[in-house]
């Protein structure tokens, strides 16, 4: 999602203190939460007690219904990432390789990229129906732009020497793509897919909350409309853990490669 920049390593306090502070922050937040839950200042159940959230979490993780819906959503996201990511990759390579195409079309991608995609959902429902297809379509639309833009930018940063090496070996266009371009820009590609994954996830889940009858987004909005707050919190927790974990995993994929090269 965010281009948040690298985190700096600041040489200062020892690890022990950091861990202590982290624990203190977590405990503080939990204590304030529990206090709010019992204070009666907010509407009942808006801030449910930690115990009831834990119970809901356990119930959720033990129910086959949840895994079925998680599977539906995961399949939608995977399909969106495959379609949107691959088409983004192709378009990115075309734009990155050809200055004319880039000058003609990239400006549209650049400005369309960050616009809110969920507003296309009514149109996508008309085109693809109310089933999982329209969620895949919205996810695809969301993840296409970051992949295409990241790949196009990465393509332009490839060392010119590598391209000349390819040319002097008389590599065909396909060989250039497979042997020079793709290996040389795996970092922008991985980064593009990391961003794309985040957008595909948001696209598919938001679409599910708007109109659907299965998927985790549907479960969340269902919990909301039946005012089952602990269950809703439990699902948000699971989703956040999964999303942040997947994001870190894809990021690690890029870093692993860097370590191996050293």
């Amino acid at each position: 999602m965010a281009k948040t920049g690298r985190l700096r390593q600041t040489a200062a306090p020892r690890i022990g203190q950091v861990t202590l502070l982290r624990l203190a922050v977590i405990l503080g937040v939990l204590a304030v939460w529990e206090f709010l839950a019992h204070s009666g200042w907010l509407y009942r159940d808006v801030v449910p007690s930690l115990l009831s959230i834990a119970r809901a979490l356990a119930g959720l993780l033990g129910s086959s219904e949840f895994y079925f819906n998680l599977g539906v959503t995961a399949a939608e996201i995977a399909a969106a990432l495959a379609i949107g990511g691959l088409s983004g990759l192709v378009v990115g390579i075309l734009l990155g390789a050809n200055r004319f195409l880039s000058r003609a079309f990239e400006i549209y991608l650049y400005y369309l990229g960050p616009t809110p995609k969920i507003i296309f959902f009514p149109v996508l429902i008309m085109w693809f129906g109310v089933g999982p297809e329209s969620k895949v379509a919205l996810g695809t639309l969301s993840c296409f732009f970051p992949v295409a833009l990241s790949v196009a930018a990465g393509m332009r940063q490839i060392d010119k020497v590598l391209i000349r090496v390819g040319a002097s070996f008389r590599a065909s266009a396909l060989q250039m793509v497979l042997k020079i371009y793709l290996p040389a820009m795996r970092h922008p590609i991985i980064n593009g897919f990391r961003l794309g994954f985040g957008f595909a996830l948001i696209g598919a889940l938001l679409a599910e909350t708007k109109l659907s009858n299965k998927g985790v987004g549907f479960l969340i909005i269902n919990a909301y409309s039946t005012f089952d707050m602990p269950r809703m919190y439990a699902m948000l927790i699971v989703l956040f853990v999964l999303a942040i974990g997947a994001n870190a995993l894809i990021g690690r994929l890029g870093a692993l490669d860097r370590i191996k090269r050293l």
Binding site: V18, S102, I202
Partner: protein
């Protein structure tokens, strides 16, 4: 993302490529028009582009599009002010207390990658169907980049500048307001720009999802009335507004950046 300016700057024949791009898109719309008119594409799924253009007038005249625009803009403004204030304050605090930064900077970065917009049912419960649901949604989703960029900007202040401050014996607060903050401002604004973009996306998205408020609500409303041409026109309108918003932010960022 590459700068739009870099794309525009070009050698001879600089107008040919953009003209071809524009012509290709216009051509695609014309083709769409023909395909709908001769019935290859069902006009109850895709209305002809000419009908969409014609209904622009209708959504302006009948659907109070400017009032809605102001409503959404107001939400973005409040969220923007909030995330600037809290984001910069958070960043400064974390820069000042290194221990705090070490403990939670990675958490903030992880939050920036989390699908925060999915929390909208939560805010819906807390704030009800009101403007504040959107404002808080925008605020929460735009906060992480502002915090992270503020830390980055302050930490990147050139040593020379800090030494100048020291040699003038500036107090800690003078050092901050006269040296660190001005030096970090361009980077901080990058964070604010990202934050505002996330805020706009999430505010319009939430309006659409909960059928309430400004421009997002308009699209949901028109779609529910099955006013197809109107829906397409409203989507185009929202896209145009967001693009203008991005361009304005980019101009502001370039204006703030030092000339070196």
């Amino acid at each position: 993302m590459i700068g739009a300016a870099a794309l525009r700057r070009s050698s001879p024949g600089r107008f040919i490529a953009p003209a071809v791009g524009f012509a290709a898109i216009a051509g695609a719309f014309a083709l769409g028009e023909v395909l709908v008119q001769i019935g290859v594409i069902d006009r109850y799924i895709v209305p002809p582009p000419s009908e969409v253009i014609a209904s622009f007038y209708r959504i302006v005249a009948e659907e109070r599009v400017f009032t809605r625009f102001l409503y959404t803009a107001g939400e973005c403004l409040i969220a923007g002010v909030l995330l600037t204030l809290f984001g910069i304050a958070g960043g400064v605090l974390m820069h000042r207390f290194k221990l705090l930064q070490q403990a939670i900077e990675t958490w903030v970065a992880a939050l920036a990658a989390a699908p925060l917009v999915l929390m909208y049912p939560l805010f819906l419960v807390i704030f009800g169907r009101s403007m504040w649901t959107m404002v808080i949604m925008g605020f929460v989703s735009g906060l992480p980049p502002v915090i992270l960029k503020t830390i980055e900007g302050i930490a990147a202040t050139r040593e020379v500048l800090i030494n100048v401050g020291r040699s003038f014996k500036l107090s800690a607060s003078q050092q901050f307001w006269k040296i660190l903050f001005p030096a970090a401002l361009p980077t901080i604004f990058v964070g604010v720009r990202l934050g505002l973009i996330f805020a706009l996306i999430n505010i319009v998205g939430t309006e659409f999802l909960i059928n309430f408020g400004g421009l997002g609500h308009l699209i949901a409303d028109l779609a529910e009335r099955y006013d197809l041409a109107g829906t397409y026109a409203a989507i185009c309108f929202v896209i145009l507004v967001s693009i203008l918003f991005f361009i304005a932010l980019e101009k502001a960022e370039r204006w703030l950046r030092p000339a070196d």
